[in-house]
């Protein structure tokens, strides 16, 4: 049964809808991430004031807030299945690849919602508008894809361990560092009017590598 619909677009779409629906029922992850982002931005804003003339700090703070606000929630998609004992049932109805892709798309959507709130707030509270909207949004989009791809894969690994929450940050941050470095560097370059081609290539290559790796590795993730 799974092989017939495996990795088909319909299965991915069904997983994405299921994820959205179950998130919308509680809005637990979304509320937590949004509140975290707003609270952190407020704290940073009180602590340092406006940073309009310091694009280096502005870029770093923006990405650190985004990273930590979304990190816990990005792992949550798989942890929820394990804690609710629904993973086995899910696997009976869809192939690992379509589960992975569906959850990745959900995480991307989730990240986009967080950014829709956190990024304008960050720009308003801390600095001015970006110098080049096109470059800024391109770095933001590619950075989000790389971030979601990596965090989804590591989240799937972490869901099967003891002490998932504490471990997730420790295990995912080392492999998220290239994303953070590229995104911060690109956002900063855009503010000083420099080209961001190198950073965009880095983020795109990393996102593509993680996506390809996910497709190969998800078959090995659940075997019991």
């Amino acid at each position: 049964m799974p092989s017939a619909s495996s990795s088909s677009a319909a299965a991915v779409w069904a997983i994405l809808r299921k994820e959205c629906r179950s998130e919308w029922r509680t809005r637990y992850g979304l509320n937590a991430a949004l509140l975290f982002a707003i609270a952190t931005l407020t704290a940073v804003s009180f602590a340092v004031g406006r940073l309009g003339d310091r694009p280096d700090l502005l870029a770093a703070l923006l990405w650190i807030v985004l990273l930590f606000a979304s990190l816990a929630a990005l792992a949550h998609t798989f942890v929820r299945e394990v804690e609710g004992h629904t993973l086995t049932l899910l696997r009976l109805t869809a192939s690992p690849t379509s589960i992975a892709l569906g959850k990745l798309l959900f995480n991307l959507l989730f990240l986009a919602v967080i950014e829709l709130v956190a990024v304008p707030l960050d720009l308003v509270l801390l600095g001015g508008p970006p110098l080049h909207w096109g470059r800024f949004l391109a770095v933001l989009a590619l950075g989000s894809v790389a971030l979601a791809g990596t965090a989804t894969l590591v989240g799937a690994i972490i869901a099967q361990t003891r002490g998932r929450g504490a471990l997730f940050a420790a295990v995912s941050l080392p492999v998220l560092l290239p994303v953070l470095a590229g995104a911060v560097s690109g956002t900063r370059a855009q503010w000083s009017g420099a080209p961001v081609g190198a950073e965009l290539r880095l983020l795109a290559a990393y996102g593509a590598a993680m996506l390809g790796l996910s497709l190969v590795l998800y078959d090995h993730l659940w075997e019991e």
């Binding site: 894969l153 590591v154 080392p174 560092l177 290239p178 290559a205």
Partner: protein, 215 residues
């Protein structure tokens, strides 16, 4: 036993040669000798982590727990050599550049390696059941293997580099005294043998522990 004595004599001889026979690099002075610890350890770190990744992939392909023991042992030993390379490099940096840590590209990449393999070992310690532990660790190892080239080759390019690499490692033809290279190569060979021996011990211990649990 004989092999171990030979290994001990080999490394001792290489060290003595480093102090008495090989010349000092003018700018570096006495600190030239840090090279004999720093460079082989850094190279061996890469060998060990590469070996660990190779066996992780082999485990995913063949599902033999012997590969997992190799991967875990190589990661532990690689972390050990990584610490040696980092500490010796940090001391050398203090002597030559006046600061223990500068986030120069090489320092950054070896620090990332330490973080990644620290996370790998933390992950291993948090999984119940050896087959599942082996599988999840092997998968994480593959993820890390994809991240490492970015961390080592791509990310440092984005930040400006202040490494004095040309002093010791000019591209193509090294403008370094061949005696220094010979001692460093001898140290590397000795440390590689040390690594292989320690890894064999780790793998044997893992096999015996598994046999005892099974019995």
């Amino acid at each position: 036993m004989l092999l171990r004595m030979l290994l001990f004599a080999w490394i001792a001889a290489a060290l003595i040669a480093g102090f008495l026979w090989a010349p000092l690099v003018p700018v570096l002075g006495d600190t030239t000798r840090v090279f004999y610890f720093h460079f082989p350890a850094a190279l061996l770190t890469c060998v060990a982590f590469g070996w660990s990744t190779l066996h992780s992939v082999l485990y995913l392909a063949r599902r033999d727990l012997a590969h997992d023991a190799q991967a875990a042992g190589a990661a532990e030993l690689g972390l050990l050599f990584c610490v040696v390379a980092t500490l010796s490099g940090s001391l050398w940096a203090k002597a030559m550049w006046g600061s223990y840590w500068n986030w120069d590209p090489r320092e950054t990449s070896i620090f990332f390696l330490m973080l990644i393999y620290g996370a790998y070992l933390a992950l291993r310690s948090a999984v119940d059941g050896e087959a599942r532990r082996a599988r999840l660790a092997a998968i994480y190892s593959c993820v890390a293997f994809v991240a490492v080239p970015f961390l080592i080759f791509v990310v440092p390019r984005l930040y400006f580099s202040l490494h004095p690499e040309p002093v010791l490692n000019a591209r193509g033809k090294p403008d370094i005294d061949p005696r220094i290279l010979l001692v460093a190569a001898a140290m590397f060979a000795g440390e590689t043998a040390l690594f292989a021996w320690m890894l064999a011990l780790r793998v044997r211990v893992a096999r015996l522990a598994r046999a005892r649990e099974g019995a």
